[in-house]
Homo-oligomer: 696 residues x 2
């Protein structure tokens, strides 16, 4: 079955030289790994993976993730050679403005790139999410097919380097991958013993293989240095990949011992070749070593390209064969096919609005986290693509779909949870960062909607993954509860102060902080109907009143309907006379303070409007007329009220504005005491309003 | 040597009941672990650790870190019983406003607490830093004493739970601890198989012991469940601790298999008892089980207290004995004693200003990272307590003290680095988060000054540790280079956009972004002279002009001396006529744009002042007169220029202000192209100034 001809060797050498030439042309970049991994990449793209270069969206494709994203040429060169749409000219424009070959692979920018990588650890951790999604989607569409016989069966391949293996996020995700017995995940660890500070012995001497055995992975080593000579024994790697594929109840890692920069005569096996161009002399010497013309750059033999571009026809044939199985499945599973089509079209289910629970005013107060839990459970029956869980805070985040099973192998069932490999409730353990990366992998793999919960304070632990979601416009959903110092007794280590502002600072992340249970319902609906980026719901621990609202806009003392949540900010309570002297902008649990202050001010003859601001990002998308209506430029007396720092509100309240805010860390006490001590009272809001009026 | 009497059992039961009573009184909290770990804590505080309850600052003390900080009662109850200063009344005020017993242990708030814990993984990871510091300080003061015979030899004890072991930061730090062969570190892993989502089998089934063996730790298991009955075999744990102490070339972890909430009859071994009060009935039942009066709360037998408070005299005697050794050392090592005294007094060395390099204007441009590297090396000879390194970016961050050895065992020397257990150059590998926690541990252990470098973008990876440093006012130093999109070709995954604002949002963190090489020198000096919290230096990858400056304040076209850096913001270039029409506020690499814009405006008859703002936090500390002088309230035409989002500048520029900023992710291209494409030019700054003037 394994065939490797001299033309493959030549293609590999071509790939190496192209990588070195491209970095030389750019003047900077990372040639070393792309050179030494060229045979690995050729093997994957030409001999192993089932992909159709002419259709990078083919659902049945094997996924490829380059976790060591700095070695982007590993991928770009294969995309060129195998006909994915890149051409030689793209390689010549490596790392240049507007090129398809940026420094790191960018999802949505270069066709065929499954995920943006570069921040180390993220790729391999998201690969675990890809493997989660592959299993979950199979469960949605084709749960009963024998293993390996479904059109929804495929593999996730990842290449990772030392940096990926050192990052903690990878440890978290790898522990989960072993726990989940993800037989569809195969990682190749480029064990080259070199990172930027040169020999990794200076900082990285653990036994990686043993560590992965401890996680429950299938671990193999392929040592290209074992003979004392460096022999790129591609067949040994191929056999290891085949063995990995055969192990269906464990993720696999293959530690491949390589020499970085091979066969660069002077710079191989050094930290220098990791991140710098070879230089003219060394590049010439390299070309001589592999028998290329040192006077030529970007040299590609026609015969080589003809050989490697056969990947297109081969891939199309595989795609066609797959389609027969897929069509048979579609015929046999019309309802599942309908779901499949809806997800492919990225459409929410019908009846979403009708499914939303309505929370009655005047009854018991409800925390927005409790409302969120009810909403998730109300939506779940009509939205099988909605799944999620928590980083070991299920009972606090209220993120559990209660009548569903847990997405873990059945043997990990406990007396609280029933495990099912196709289950719907996610358990991340106390691993927020891996949760973020896994969520990214899930939503990039297919079109299911996955959510993950933790305390808002621990958004800090997952921030790099959140940022990547925003950069990729990946529609991940975060359920961040305990969203202010009002979580109370756990004290300053657990009380978010700067988190809302710091999260809003991430371009493209929607931060949604609903004021009551009904806003929470409309917030969920809006998040689920959007797919253009990640969204985080900031939800209260403490109970909040459910506002008595009218059916339309705010008028007199009638509050606006919660559907206005989708606009990001809206007039919740109009100024008593219809013309505001001052405007309160408040979010979440502090909206009730604004309402109370409005009442107190009315008694003093001051007309205050209350604008509820569940999501500044959505509000910014509204047309100017709407924004002017909610926040008329002429009304400069404004007060923001939010249990966090004021900074983010400054553009909205202006020079005359005042903020009821907290500019220091919190404290351990019950939340009523903290509201008083930290000055979050209607009286303080009234004083701020008067102060703002006085500043005009 | 091991003695355990019936009174010890009674003290342990007293500790359990106090924990349960305290949570019941508070109405919420975490009783379960405090109950089941009571015998462990009693063993450590009464039988194992060398501590003097009457002097929590004793340099020779063993350190204790409760990584599972939610079990704060484990520590508080021992602090009460062993006479550290807490009294019964403090336990009765658990989790109450102003009490000494907040929800999580807080450094600087409760005497005896070595470090604030709660965010999981931080404590154990910082414990690694404590162990680093203990070794480094021994190297500074007493390098030649035989092992175990120096007054600077002591142990670091940590208790950690499942959550700590699951968090990725712990994996990073534990890998480093094994690599460093930290024989002075002993961790007890409370392996109780329960976290908030109940049985940890739902998310955590890896082989922890094997994983720690892979890291190179000495691993033991003490199983209190092994007989089928639960037997709190304290002696077995004691023997394991003794064995751990005897292994001096490896950190030790003891997996202690416990039952959470033991011996609560109905709630032991459940997720519920982790984080909720027992409730009246269960609390009564518990008291009956251990033979306490169910009608009494906070019951402490006088005999028990008399027994446990013997810890004070015992500790004082140990302290006294230690002091003899210390005095002998002091006598024999007068120079080292002088250094010791200076560090104890938290004083910087004399001659710091004189040691700073001066960078000549008009010569070659210098990146602020390169300047920083020169400054570190200039200061190093007079400041032996200054040590640090990078998370595998030494050549990029330029954080290496070049003539120093590396802080790793000699056997890990590579052809680039020479290892020495007392070395001064830190190598964190690609582990930014552990770097942050280890730095915290280092500066909390003693008074050395440690710094760690990475790219500014990866401050996101270390954010939870940075926040904890700020909360604790721990004077850690971060060297964050490649501080804007101007890092260029690596593209958006590596280009900070929102990071400066998001970091400034953390209360108590100084973010310092110097404009040129000389500001960098004064920034380092200022950071080293301050000890009241963490500071991060944001430094450029690209070369920047070294400004030609005068000796005093700005006047005419003469720029101000760089010493003004310490004031956080200063008039770098005065308006040409001395009266500004418009003020530029700029930082770092963008200050040169402000200067160019000032010149262009002058040609057009507009008088612009340039304020360099290396550190907003320092500027906010200045008196109002100074602040008014730099930014007169009357001058409302203002323009901020910083290669990041504008948000943080809004309070400083006001409604009429304009910002030259970037509000979206970056791109892969060289930095000159990006400056143009992203509108960071003198022309854009001039236009913004005119726009601001027009808005008045």
């Amino acid at each position: 079955d394994f065939q490797w001809d001299p033309i493959d060797d030549k293609a590999v050498d071509t790939a190496r030289i192209l990588a070195a030439d491209a970095v030389e042309e750019a003047g900077n970049g990372h040639p070393g790994t792309a050179m030494s991994l060229a045979p690995v990449a050729h093997l994957l793209f030409q001999k192993v993976m089932r992909r159709d270069p002419s259709d990078n969206e083919w659902v049945g494709r094997d996924r490829f993730i380059l976790s060591n994203g700095h070695a982007s040429l590993t991928q770009y060169v294969q995309f060129y050679l195998a006909g994915y749409g890149l051409e030689l000219d793209d390689l010549k424009h490596l790392r240049k403005w507007g090129s398809k070959t940026p420094g790191h692979p960018e999802y949505g920018h270069t066709d065929g790139v499954e995920i943006t990588t570069g921040p180390l650890g993220q790729g391999l951790s998201s690969a675990v999410g890809f493997a989660y999604a592959a299993r979950y989607e199979r469960g949605l569409f084709d749960p009963d097919a024998p293993a390996g016989e479904s059109p929804f069966d495929h593999f996730i391949y990842a290449i990772a380097g030392d940096g990926d293996l050192e990052e903690g996020i990878t440890s978290e995700a790898s522990s989960l991958a072993g726990h989940q017995k993800l037989g569809n995940l195969i990682a190749i660890y480029d064990d080259n013993q070199i990172s930027i500070e040169d020999d990794t012995n200076i900082a990285f001497t653990e036994d990686v293989q043993k560590r992965y055995e401890a996680y429950g992975w299938h671990v193999q080593t392929v040592d290209w240095k074992k003979t004392g000579e460096y022999v790129e024994d591609v067949e040994a790697l191929y056999r290891a990949i085949e063995a990995a594929k055969a192990v269906t109840d464990k993720p696999s890692i293959i530690a491949l011992k390589t020499i970085i920069g091979w066969p660069s005569p002077k710079k191989q096996n050094t930290g220098k070749i990791h991140g710098s161009a070879l230089g003219a002399d060394e590049l010439r010497a390299l070309k001589e070593v592999v028998g290329f013309d040192p006077d030529t750059t970007f040299e590609v033999d026609d015969e080589v390209l003809a050989h490697t571009r056969q990947a297109v026809q081969r891939g199309q044939a595989e795609h066609e064969a797959w389609k027969q199985g897929f069509d048979a499945w579609a015929q046999a599973n019309p309802e599942r096919k309908e779901l499949f089509d809806r997800l492919l079209a990225q459409q929410p289910p019908e009846g979403l609005e009708e499914a939303l629970p309505t929370f009655e005013a005047g009854g018991k107060d409800v925390s927005t986290r409790a409302a969120s839990g009810k909403i998730i459970n109300a939506i779940a029956p009509i939205m099988p693509e909605l799944w999620g869980g928590s980083a070991d805070l299920a009972e606090s985040n209220l993120t559990t779909i209660t009548d569903a099973e847990s997405f873990v192998p059945a043997e990990w069932s406990t007396h609280e949870w029933t495990g099912n490999p196709y289950g719907r409730v996610l358990h991340f353990g106390i691993r927020e960062h891996a949760m973020g990366a896994i969520l990214n992998g899930i939503v990039l793999h297919g079109n299911t909607r996955a959510f993950g919960g933790t305390f808002l304070i621990f958004s800090d632990y997952m921030r790099p993954s959140v940022r990547l979601a925003a950069l990729m416009k990946a529609p991940t959903i975060y359920v961040w509860t305990h969203d202010s110092f009002a979580l109370g007794e756990d004290g300053p280590t657990h009380q978010p102060i700067e988190q809302l502002t710091a999260l809003r600072a991430i371009p493209g992340l929607d931060v949604v902080r609903p004021a009551d249970a009904n806003e929470t319902a409309w917030a969920w609906k809006t998040v689920l109907e959007r797919r253009n980026g990640p969204a985080g719901l900031a939800l209260s621990r403490q109970n909040l009143p459910v506002f008595e609202r009218g059916d339309g806009e705010a008028e007199g003392d009638t509050l606006a309907h919660a559907r206005h949540t989708a606009r990001g900010a809206y007039i919740l309570a109009e100024a008593p006379n219809g013309t505001p002297d001052v405007i309160f902008l408040a979010t979440g649990s502090e909206v009730q303070i604004a309402l109370a202050a409005r009442t107190q001010l009315a008694e003093q003859g001051v007309n205050a409007r209350v604008v509820s601001v569940p999501c500044l990002e959505w509000f910014q998308e509204q047309d100017e007329a709407y924004r002017e209506k909610v926040l008329p430029a002429a009304v400069k007396a404004r007060v923001s009220i939010e249990a966090g720092i004021a900074l983010g509100w400054r553009p909205w309240i202006g020079d005359a504005g005042r903020s009821v805010s907290i500019e220091h860390f919190g404290a351990s006490a019950d939340y009523q005491v903290l509201y008083e001590k930290f000055g979050f009272t209607a009286e303080a809001a009234v004083a701020a309003a008067k102060d703002s009026l006085a500043a005009l």
